[in-house]
Amino acid sequence: MGNTPSAEAKAGWTLVSPPAIYVLLMLAAPLLLVFGLSFAGLEGGAKVSLPLQEGQDLHFTLSNYAKLFCWSASDTCSSTDVRMAQATATAMGRSLLVAALVTLTTVLLAYPVAYYVSFHVHPSKKSLWLFLITIPFWTSYVIRVALWRTILGYDGAVDAALGAVGIIDQPLNLLQYGTLAIVITLSHAYAPFAVLPIFVSLEKVDRSLLEAGQDLGESRWTTFLRVTLPLSMAGVVAAVLIVFIPTVGDYVTPELIGSGKVPMIANFIETQMWKLRNQAMGSTLAVSSMLIVAVVATLFVLANRRFLGGRK
């Protein structure tokens, strides 16, 4: 159209600048501030509570991070700090365990569904199936999570169903097993997240490769294991990340399902930032937990890198 590359770049930048500036101000700036605050301290070790009072000066310190490693009482670690460090480590460990179990459950259960829609549903019906799978995800998260309280709880749907077929004679009340109830609830809430990326990668699998495999004497099952599954691993990896990262940071489910008795790391971040108004310590927890998640996610991607990078 006669547009020189620089004129085109200018037009593109002009258009994108409002959303780009919005993200800079509302996402990049806050995240940088949190990163900075995680290294901030006040004279005499007072808690950093924003907005700062007159005469308060922040200085650089590693003491917030040091507090996370207070395993035993010492000159720098009070007994409160030790309890706090232990509780935080427990919550972080629980978050990772819950997220890992939820990811495993959702991805394993979702794969056959994605496979069915991609390989056995007529192309004209595919978007209808996907729509049906995604609808529950678009309805209120709080309501869906809260409903699991009534389903898993004493005399809830699970107890009623199992009792009716005679498997149990006493109500199970699965809700009393906090972590298990949290895993069940989150697996349900994130199910569609796992189906979609796997479906997208299965759609890209060249169907003629499957025919070739079978022509060369592979069975249906070995064709799946040696052709389809490796080719769809990019989708599986995406599904794992897209389920794992938000579930590590889930806040609503431990509150509603665990009644706050089995807190995860997001509940700790909220306690520091909001209830205790200790924004430096809250920031330290936020940065540390994101760092741990980033390390876990990177290791996972590296472990699967032979499946990624696309076909040559």
């Binding site: 159209m1 085109e8 770049a9 037009a11 593109g12 258009l15 994108v16 959303p19 919005y22 993200v23 509302m26 996402l27 990049a28 700036a29 806050p30 501030l33 949190v34 605050l37 924003l50 569904v113 069915y116 595919k126 978007s127 996907l130 729509f131 799978i133 529950p136 678009w138 309805t139 209120s140 998260y141 709080v142 309501i143 809260a146 409903l147 309280r149 009534t150 389903i151 005399d155 809830g156 749907a157 107890d159 009623a160 349900h188 199910a191 979609l196 479906f199 249906r220 990340l241 938000p246 940071g249 806040y251 609503v252 509150e255 997001a266 971040i269 909220e270 909001w274 920031s283 936020a286």
Partner: protein, 269 residues
């Protein structure tokens, strides 16, 4: 095909479990008992009456509508700019900028909410409905960009070029040719971002400065047994409303794809 049948049965059961809670919700909303447990005891509509009579709930409803309508308008407007720029023009740094816009999709919401809270506190901005909107636009924009990008992608570039050759200006081409063709995508984006905003809890709870909105009302009510039955009635109406909006959004999305002559690849994401 035997294998297909097994998979089909599995998928149908999977869907039933997926819908389980949403199916159970109206059962208890119309159930004549103060405790939420089986067996059901009788039909009643009194929880709906109790819910509608609640003045706090009406306040929360008005607040939620203000927040969701503002969020949908802003997120869709910003989404149009980003999607149009990314699809139509090539410019340096596109990967980083578009990637950053999509980041809230993979960040835990608590991190987004607390980071914004810290910024607002540091800047001395009072928490209000407005600050909820600021947060909601951030988390809704990735969805708007995803929907609108596919709407702009299915647009035939030669239509625009024809209009320009026939003497239209850049803006009038956009208004007369591009906008009508992507209108279904814009409507779909508006409805989806509205749904995200009205259902969102964490940002609404922490950035709202105590202003009641629906999701916070629901969360609080579920923690006290006595308020559970009326909130089930509210939940039933919210879920029904969400499904209605989504069905309309899906209708527009499909019409948009058909209008632009594209092939339907399915799904919002």
């Amino acid at each position: 095909m035997k294998q297909g049948l097994g998979l089909r049965t599995y998928t149908v059961i999977y869907l039933l479990v997926l819908y389980g809670p949403i199916i159970i919700l109206p059962l208890f909303a119309f159930n004549d008992a103060t405790t939420v447990a089986f067996p059901l005891s009788g039909f009643t509509t009194k929880w709906f009456g109790q819910m509608l009579a609640d003045a706090n709930l009406r306040k929360a409803l008005v607040n939620s509508l203000i927040v969701s309508l503002s969020t949908a308008t802003l997120a869709t407007t910003l989404g149009i700019l980003a999607a149009r720029s990314a699809v139509r023009y090539s410019w340096p740094g596109k990967g980083i900028v578009m990637g950053s816009i999509m980041v809230p999709l993979v960040l835990p919401e608590m991190i987004v909410a607390m980071a914004l809270l810290v910024l607002l506190l540091a800047a001395g901005i009072k928490l209000s409905l407005f600050t909820i909107i600021l947060g909601h636009v951030l988390i809704a924009m990735p969805f708007a960009v995803a929907i609108l990008s596919s709407a702009f992608q299915s647009l035939d570039k030669s239509l625009e070029e024809a209009a320009l050759d026939l003497g239209e200006t850049g803006w009038s081409t956009f208004r007369l040719i591009v906008l009508p063709l992507v209108m279904p995508g814009i409507l779909a984006s508006f409805l989806i971002t509205f749904t995200i905003s009205i259902d969102e809890f964490i940002i609404a709870n922490f950035l709202g400065g105590g202003e009641p909105v629906l999701s916070v009302f629901v969360f609080t009510a579920f923690r006290f047994p006595s308020t559970v039955p009326p909130v089930l009635a509210l939940g039933t109406m919210l879920v029904a409303f969400s499904i209605l909006l989504l069905t309309i959004a899906e209708y527009f999305r499909r019409r948009g794809v058909a209008k632009a002559g594209g092939k339907d690849t399915g799904g919002f994401l």
